[in-house]
């Protein structure tokens, strides 16, 4: 028994047995290795679409703008000779460039400052214990779904120099009509209204969300100390909202300095008025690149605007940090 058991039937299985386990091990090892690669590589695979797309349609074009700006580069003819900083010299010598820079800043200031103040006020009102809360919140958000081009067309009509509703109202209360489409500052005001119209409610909801995160006992303590509602708003709400306000201001800056849509449709020619009263920098880029078909010069302006935005963002960051530190010391 022992012998047969050992020798006879075992022979075939003995020959196989030493073979089988390695096979199984190898198969296990292979699937394990596959699973290990799955674990290791999958995350990179999953995040890669964003990075590939950003590299191809975001970062590369932005950097390549600098390269184009150093060349004679025609819309149709394509890349010409290397000209160094000539495009920059040309652009910086143009009154239209400085004009567009001034307009951009003017429209930006007129739209961002009142917008933040109004959005804070609306948020404070929405933060009260309202009836039909959702209705009010949705109501202030309606303009967000109206395209800036549509907003521009509507307000262009409201601000029409002749028979425009705003001027009719001014006349009816005995004031002189304003020449919205020829006075520089008036046109900036009109365009800033469009920006405010579209974004104030949106920002109010962001502020509202931040307000609701403020601990309620702060208000209770202030009430006991005898602080009124206005005092509570200025001494508790606004300081506690500082990070959110900074966030809103920074996003408004980056977007506001690139304003195009509303100003583009403020008249039917799209160049920013007879004397370029409301031509912004992005409109100027469009005029140089697609109007005059000079990609080199358009790129020079685009790159200058990019550097400007980077500088302002950096300044924003430094100021913010300083404020944050001061806040910490208090």
């Amino acid at each position: 028994m022992a012998v047969t058991d050992r020798v006879r039937p075992a022979t075939p299985s003995r020959q196989r047995r030493p073979q089988r386990p390695p096979e199984a091990v190898r198969r296990l090892a292979f699937s394990q290795r596959l699973s290990k690669w799955d674990v290791k590589l999958s995350p990179y695979l999953y995040i890669s679409p964003f990075f590939v797309l950003f590299a191809l349609t975001g970062l590369f074009p932005l950097l390549y703008t600098a390269w184009v700006s150093l060349h004679d580069w025609d819309f149709i003819g394509g890349q010409g000779t290397f000209t160094g900083l000539e495009n920059y010299q040309f652009v910086l010598a143009q009154p239209f460039f400085w004009n567009a820079l001034g307009n951009t800043f003017s429209i930006f200031v007129l739209s961002s400052v009142p917008q933040v103040v109004l959005a804070l006020t609306i948020a404070a009102a929405l933060d009260a214990n309202l009836r039909a809360r959702t209705f009010w919140r949705m109501g202030v958000l309606v303009p967000f779904v109206v395209a800036p081009v549509a907003v521009g067309l509507i307000f262009n009509n409201l601000y029409a120099d002749q028979f425009g509703l705003v001027n009719e109202l001014l006349k009816s209360v005995g004031l002189d009509p304003v020449r919205w489409h020829s006075d520089t500052l008036a046109s900036h005001f009109a365009i800033a209204t469009m920006v405010n119209f579209r974004w104030t409610g949106y920002n109010a909801l962001i502020f509202l969300a931040a307000m609701q995160a403020i601990p309620r006992d702060l208000y209770e303590a202030a009430t006991i100390d005898g602080a009124g509602r206005l005092r509570q708003f200025l001494s508790i709400t606004v300081p506690m909202l500082r990070p959110t306000i900074i966030f809103v201001v920074i996003t408004a800056t980056i977007g506001g300095l690139q304003i195009f849509d509303e100003a583009r449709v403020f008249d039917q020619y799209g160049l920013g008025g007879a004397d370029r009263q409301w031509q912004t920098l992005t409109m100027y880029i469009w005029e140089l690149g697609w109007g005059q078909r000079n990609f080199g010069r358009a790129s020079a302006v685009a790159w200058l605007l990019f550097l400007l935005i980077v500088l302002i963002s950096l300044a924003n960051f430094l100021i913010t940090r300083r404020i944050a530190h001061q806040g910490g010391r208090k």
Binding site: D38, V39, Y46, I47, P49, F50, L53, T57, L59, F60, P61, L62, L63, Y64, T65, T121, D127, A128, N129, L130, W136, M138, G139, V140, L141, V142, F144, V145, A147, V149, A150, I154, N157, A160, F163, G164, E168, F197, Y202, L205, I206, A209, M211, Q212, R216, Y219, I250, T251, L257, F260, D261, R264, Q268, G270, I285, G289, F295, A298, A302, S313
Partner: protein
């Protein structure tokens, strides 16, 4: 075979639960009361102020309906107060002067495709950043967030050059491709999945032999549903209202709605009743969407949405 048949029920029980739990969390946050919470109701002043703001938000839309329903001479006869009967005639003029239905179809197509792809790719990346461990994940996420502050719009000139090399100028691809995944989307889904998707759930399906992509498809994607719906909504609105790049790269014969809309005003003589009819017609679909899903937009913004 056995794994794939075993995972779906698990997803339906646990993934759905996770999603539902998260949705409950959202609702709770949405109904939090203000500092005036308690018995005190705000006074007439608050309602009056908010009423004025909402009227101000709606008035320009009413105005365009008002002007759009009269003829071109209405304003010279004084400010109208009630809509007239000329809207359909003006609408017909809109259709005559611009390829309106083509633009509408294009806008629907571009916005839908962009919204769907942003949701898919952002959830995929958000799943990796929130739930998978890999070298450099923290730094890469910071990089993604930092790109939100980069004004990539200023790269239009080279982007246009590249698109014309590809022969894509005038084609909808030129508008769709640069938008198929956004930094904001990735950030948004990462934030959401971090809280809404329990690690144990992924471990459990991994133990059952699911691959990474199966774990994503059957567990992460269902759990991400509420946030994904909001992201789709925001992307849809942002794409629908986008003007600068479509205006540069598309032909007037094959436009999206905003590009077509500004063509109404490009003639020397502008008939504002026609222009504003166009504004009403092009805003209509989004207003409908707002009526259906405005609540979601509100809570999406309040959860920290930023400008796209």
């Amino acid at each position: 075979m056995s794994t794939s048949s075993r995972i779906p029920p698990l997803e339906r029980i646990a993934g759905g639960d996770a999603a539902r739990g998260a949705a409950r969390g959202l609702r709770r946050r949405g109904t939090r009361t203000g500092p005036g919470a308690g018995p005190r109701r705000p006074g007439f002043l608050t309602y009056g102020f908010l009423g004025a703001v909402v009227l101000g938000a709606l008035f320009p839309l009413y105005w365009s309906l008002l002007i759009g329903s009269h003829d071109s001479t209405v304003l010279s006869r004084g400010v109208p107060l009630l809509p007239g009967g000329n809207f359909l005639a003006n609408a017909a003029k809109v259709m005559d002067s611009i390829p309106f239905w083509k633009a509408m179809g294009n806008s629907i197509l571009v916005s839908t495709v962009t919204a769907a792809s942003v949701v898919l790719f952002s959830t995929l990346a958000g799943f990796a950043f929130a739930k998978l461990r890999f070298r450099g994940s923290k730094g890469l996420l910071v990089f993604v967030i930092a790109t939100m502050a980069v004004p990539t719009q200023l790269g239009v000139v080279p982007l246009f050059i590249v698109m014309s090399e590809f022969g894509w100028t005038g084609s909808l691809w030129a508008v769709i491709v640069p938008g198929v995944v956004t930094a904001f989307g990735v950030f948004w889904m990462t934030q959401y999945l971090r809280d809404a998707l329990p690690d144990e759930l992924i471990e459990a399906v991994r133990m059952d032999g699911a691959s990474m992509i199966q774990a994503f498809w059957y567990v992460a994607l269902p759990a991400a549903r509420p946030a994904a719906a909001m992201l789709a909504l925001f992307t849809f609105v942002a794409t629908w209202t986008n003007f600068f790049w479509p205006f540069i790269v598309l032909d007037p014969s094959n436009p999206t709605l905003p590009v077509a809309l500004q063509l109404l005003q490009s003639a020397h003589f502008v008939d504002y009743s026609v222009v504003l009819t166009g504004a009403v017609l092009s805003t209509g679909p989004l207003l409908l969407l707002f009526v259906v899903a405005g609540r979601q937009l509100v809570s999406g913004i309040m959860q920290g949405a930023v400008k796209g």
